[in-house]
Symmetry: C2
């Protein structure tokens, strides 16, 4: 059997190694356009910033090491220009010699990845405008920041790469402004969860121009102006384009493979394309969203590596299948961690799923043990079935743990109330006797058993302030004095039972506290005393976070990365 | 409804608060023998060591705060001396006044906990012999170590409390010797996993006397001699007894409740005892092992708190049930973390379960990102069904995360091969594109699909060295030169294909490398070339860890904590 693989990173490299493990006799050729194989894509931003200092660390595997260990013929600087399914060949160009040749295959695996989306804008090819995909890109950007010591940078795009590059440049002392059209960074989060990252970025001096559209670039006098639609340009020493990625699939389309949205390759769960003996994996393929069952593009390293192994199994005559992508992701941003799994509210709404949500602010470990930090968790589940849909967590230590626990729970099809019974490992430095994930389960059970009704931050503005409802803040007077939601009156929880006569029984009652716990306790008391009451989800802490971010966005500096 | 609760910590306090949330009108009285309620049991060793400095942090809740918030009548220094089920009363002694009275109940919840096991030995009541259960014990021990500045301590018992106390004393400069009868610390681990902790303890100068039995104590000249059976005594400035805990259930037994092993109270899954209207929770009750279905005692805080909430639900007329304990646990020991979930080999063998295991040594995050550390994971699953049975992990950062992911997988009934498909969140600071848990799934799949056969460290000594089998070490010559298992000959993996003629085809072949990965790759090559080959589980790294520990145990210092 002769297997040809297009692309020697992530999915392609995983597949090549697995095919060899399964089949000592297969002939395996990998064509890789760049000069590097099996490199550390996800580490590239950290090389730019000098967190990773050894270029060898990015490129542990080489064509030589792959040949020695796996007898895989890794041909770098070789670009596959065409697939010829009828002939079962690919047309390849040796980028060093210019030579073009046809290479036959029995099985073909496409792992071409996705390329940075580069809009057709004036000046986008300028010397000070960078993208980050390959090792070569990385060295170029690293050399620029070391040699030219830029003082300012515009990062277009606030996704994973954009944020990681922004952090790395910021840590080097570069003044960074992030520009993007959406009004929030990190699309896998809902806006009310992303706001914590906005505050973090601002606290590090990173400018946020959200809701702005880049119209082009102009280089002049060693500077580059990022032109914005309807706004003053941003002048900086460099620009990083990180507005997203696009499947790099022109050859697949030209060969007549069935294509999905954004130029993705359609595959079945065995990673087979529409054309026999051609498989495809990684950022280039359309996958099934494991939660919604809808088609999706999820360009992440974990799925790419898993898919590579699955394609290899099937290429070698086995039967392996991909169960769909759950979109689990995590990002370090300065000292914070943001992580997601499953779907967020935006995706649930788009899929027409009737969902409920809980928001909580647990500490990562026992409060009495030093160093505990609060995280913000949002968990979505389907009304009726109680099926877990997704989770988003923003905080510090322990965020990645809880998202992986929730990812496992979603994978296993646990329902949202099951979370209360998870038997997780507890010791004071790591958790609480009731882990944050357990707490979410308790909250969901209380909602689903009708013990408490919720209202959310987006409901607050619409609550009548005409006396037809009662708005109650159950915190201490000191907390209340430091800030409260408009129109909420203060009765501390511990005084509530003695002051029920101050609260009209015939009006709906909306209760807020700092985290949502005391207002829940207040609702328990009030409901049993005949009140129709609603508990504020996430507490004033969350409310203040979201509303402060909206305010900060309005007051964002008008223009100019060079202030 | 009048509810009486015996014990105001963990399960009892959880239940009291939950009952109030569910029922504003219930009368709730809690009798607590000590002077403190709802205190931080699991934090006590850290107060001894000064990691937690504020005594108030251990005792955040007070009888007053419980009364204010929950209208729960928490009576400290009140000991329940008898239960009178026929009268539905308990007989209570006010330890401050000596007054004895009967208190009626409609529902009774027993949450008496477990007390440190104190063997009936001479000198066990001495002033320099401490146990650690209550806040009072903690203050006493803290005062002793601050005021007397002991230079040496014997800790009898190497379980959670013993190890945490040993660490805390060691960090204060006290020379510590741990003595216990079993030949390993931390029974939830198998011996081959505990050995890493032995090495850690020794590296911190903590003496280990494993396999030794304490016969008594003698105090003299401001020192205490720990007498050992058949060995020289250990002389030290203090002794901490932490050899285990025993359910504190004399009153339950006297009242005729059905009792289980070690004086535990038998309860059903609703936490009901054998006597109507009496419930019991926490360290005092017998639970069902969620993996084996067998009865078990699992004195841990997580289950106690969950059970308290469940009992409360049922006391208030709801229907909640405990799903059994999965024994998930974690401990910080210096800079290391050891964690378990489900059952270990000892328990699997005792339960007669036919299991297979994998051992792996993954890094907690991408190797190219700074700070990665290797952890040792052992995962057990049932042969045939592939049901996950348990996991043990010893390492550094990320251990607690993986154990909680595996705990969730076991809870959800995932099979062992499912681990490969878990969609976990990846970014270089947190994980690898193939997470350690995924890797375990891949390994298990390879075993179960017959692609590789294993042998284990305990098989190595029995392998014939008479030439009837081939013993192969697939590491580099440099690695091999630094140490190898007896009789293994070196052919580096990358030379293997070219040197097959050196290996007789008609003899079984046993292959070892450093971590188990290269030997697996070697086995892939060899098996496809017709060899009957076996991959060493865990690699030389694991083998060396286990065998070095056995050697160190033999060479342990003969006697005397004061060397």
């Amino acid at each position: 059997m002769k297997v040809v693989i297009v692309g020697g990173v992530a999915g392609g490299a995983s597949a090549a190694a697995r095919i060899r493990r399964l089949d000592e006799t297969a002939e395996i050729i990998v064509f890789e356009r760049t000069g590097y194989v099996s490199y550390a894509n996800c580490g590239l931003p950290y090389f730019v910033g000098g967190v990773i200092t050894d270029p060898g660390a990015l490129t542990l595997q080489t064509p030589e090491s792959f040949l020695r260990r796996f007898r895989v013929d890794m041909r770098v600087h070789h670009e596959v220009e065409a697939i010829n399914p009828d002939l079962k060949t690919v047309t390849v160009r040796n980028l060093e010699t210019g030579e073009v040749f046809d290479e036959p295959y029995d099985k073909l695996l496409l792992s071409p990845g996705a390329k940075p989306t580069v809009p057709r804008l004036a000046g986008v090819d300028g010397k000070r405008v960078f993208t980050l995909r390959t090792v070569e890109d990385t060295f170029a950007m690293r050399n620029f920041v070391v040699e030219k010591a830029p003082k300012s940078a515009v990062v277009a795009g606030g996704g994973f790469i954009g944020l990681e590059v922004a952090e790395n440049l910021c840590e080097m002392g570069v003044e960074v402004t992030i520009v993007q059209r959406p009004k929030q960074v990190l699309a896998p989060l809902d806006a009310d969860m992303a706001c914590q990252l906005h505050a973090l970025l601002r606290s590090h001096g990173i400018g946020l121009k959200l809701g702005s559209s880049v119209a082009g670039f102009e280089e002049r006098d060693g500077k580059v102006s990022t032109l914005l639609e309807g706004e003053e340009p941003l002048v900086s020493d460099m620009v990083v384009l990180a507005i997203g990625v696009t499947p790099d699939t022109a050859i697949a389309q030209a060969a007549g493979l069935e294509m999905g949205p954004k130029g993705s390759i359609v595959v079945n769960d065995r990673m087979e394309t529409s054309v026999p003996d051609i498989y495809a994996v990684g950022d280039a393929v359309q996958v099934v969203d494991a939660v919604t069952g809808l088609d999706a593009l999820v360009p992440l390293a974990g799925p790419a590596n898993k898919q590579g192994r699955i394609a290899a199994d099937n290429i070698c005559g086995g039967y392996s299948y991909y169960r769909g992508s759950q979109r689990s992701s995590v990002i370090k941003l300065f000292n914070m961690t943001a992580a997601t799994t499953g779907i967020n509210e935006k995706l649930a709404q788009a899929a027409g799923i009737d969902y409920e949500k809980v928001v909580l602010s647990p500490a990562n470990h026992a409060g009495y043990y030093p160093g505990g930090k609060v995280m913000t968790c949002k968990i979505l589940y389907e009304r009726g079935s109680l099926r877990l849909l997704g989770a988003q967590i923003v905080g510090y230590e322990g965020v990645d743990k809880r998202i992986d626990v929730l990812a496992t729970a979603i994978f296993a099809g646990l329902n949202a109330v099951d979370l209360k019974d998870l038997d997780l490992a507890y010791a004071p430095p790591y958790s609480s006797a009731k882990d944050p994930v357990n707490m979410a389960g308790f909250m969901i059970e209380n909602i689903e058993e009708g013990r408490v009704k919720q209202f959310h931050w987006h409901d607050v503005a619409d609550l009548p302030r005409d006396g037809s409802v009662t708005l109650l803040d159950a915190r201490t007077p000191a907390e209340y004095a430091r800030g409260c939601a408009e129109g909420f009156v203060n009765i501390p929880l511990d005084e509530l039972r003695g002051r029920l006569d101050e609260i009209p029984l015939d009006k709906p009652l909306y209760v807020m506290c700092q985290s949502g716990l005391r207002s829940y306790l207040a609702c328990c008391i009030l409901a049993q005393n005949g009140y129709d009451c609603y508990n504020f989800s996430g507490g004033y802490r969350f409310y203040n976070m979201v509303t402060s971010d909206l305010l900060a966005a309005d007051q964002a500096h008008p223009c100019g990365a060079d202030k």
